[in-house]
Symmetry: C2
Subunit: 189 residues, 2 copies
Amino acid sequence: MMSDVRIWLDRLSSLHKSQMRKAACAAGMQLVHLEILQYLSMCNRYSNTAQALGEYLGQTKGSLSQSLAFMEEAGYIERKPDPVDRRYARLFLTKEGKALLKRIDSGKILAPDFPEDDAAVEMIQRLLSDWQSHNGLKSFGQCKSCRFNKTVDGGRSQCMLTGEALSKSDVRKICREHEFSSTASAPLS
Amino acid sequence: MMSDVRIWLDRLSSLHKSQMRKAACAAGMQLVHLEILQYLSMCNRYSNTAQALGEYLGQTKGSLSQSLAFMEEAGYIERKPDPVDRRYARLFLTKEGKALLKRIDSGKILAPDFPEDDAAVEMIQRLLSDWQSHNGLKSFGQCKSCRFNKTVDGGRSQCMLTGEALSKSDVRKICREHEFSSTASAPLS
DNA sequence: TCAATATAGTTTAGATACGATACTATAAAA
DNA sequence: TTTTATAGTATCGTATCTAAACTATATTGA
């Protein structure tokens, strides 16, 4: 017998997918394109590559390569080779891409104003954490729950993986290298 | 700024989609086909039509018509014209369809054993209810939260919309006609 | 009673996502 | 310096998805 949680997760997911698709369609684009815009608006500077995007969306890089080409063509994103490791193509939203995303978001097509309910966020994070670790997937979390994050004097943050200092907005972004700290959001048994 | 809940719902949804796709692929079928099997295993006898399925999955009937034809061909479902209203084609899982679904579910490919966490279920239901009513979508809930459901003597259930008596297993299924009662799971403000 | 309308589903065509495979280019390792 | 690993591209076949036109059945209402 399928668990009740599963039933509602399925439903939530179906709903989310179809609403996203409608929103994308209304903006003259495809579902994946909207998902890409969303991801790029949320990810930090370590995570803006095609590879990370593929891991996040659960798609192969070949598939994404096409979508990215389309979006660059359409002027919503830019691809810039990484100056240090030239295998990487860093992805950036253009002004047009940001504007489009804002237009969609502000239209409240996707979802109503969900209340900033800490309990809901924590609940979803627990489910996610459990699920992801069960399947050996990356967690794509924010710094505050990451074991590499240290808060130094005065509440300023630093990533102990890269050594870089993190701004207030950096800390809110999602990261490909994120790993839950053992205390915060431990997986459900 | 996108709300935190939205970020995690997006992630949950991406993850769910890609995991479902993998599970479907491993079973030699497509994502939609698995979703159809799941739906048919959960829906009650008022909800086993292509139309309801389309509303649940957020797809057009034309698209589903093809998928259903494929699945009937493959022997996983049956389509029987409704004896009363012959416009309807009632959908049923065949023995093979049920077996396939059981094989996938028991493989724990889709998700680990989520704990039967009442708080999580309630949380997700609240989000869902809010979202659905905001977008004028059907809720596809179970009888226990439905305003048409009356429990008569000895805990037996009856649907006041159709007048029919409902068995214990009926009550756990999801229904196209479901509407939240005003008390249970009221939408968030 | 019979035309108009609504509803359930099918069919078809075009766009495109997706996976698989083979490929290039760059970087790291041995 | 050869080998191996990694990031991304190119190409092809399959199948989904939407939209629009269509058939069939049921309901409405003049």
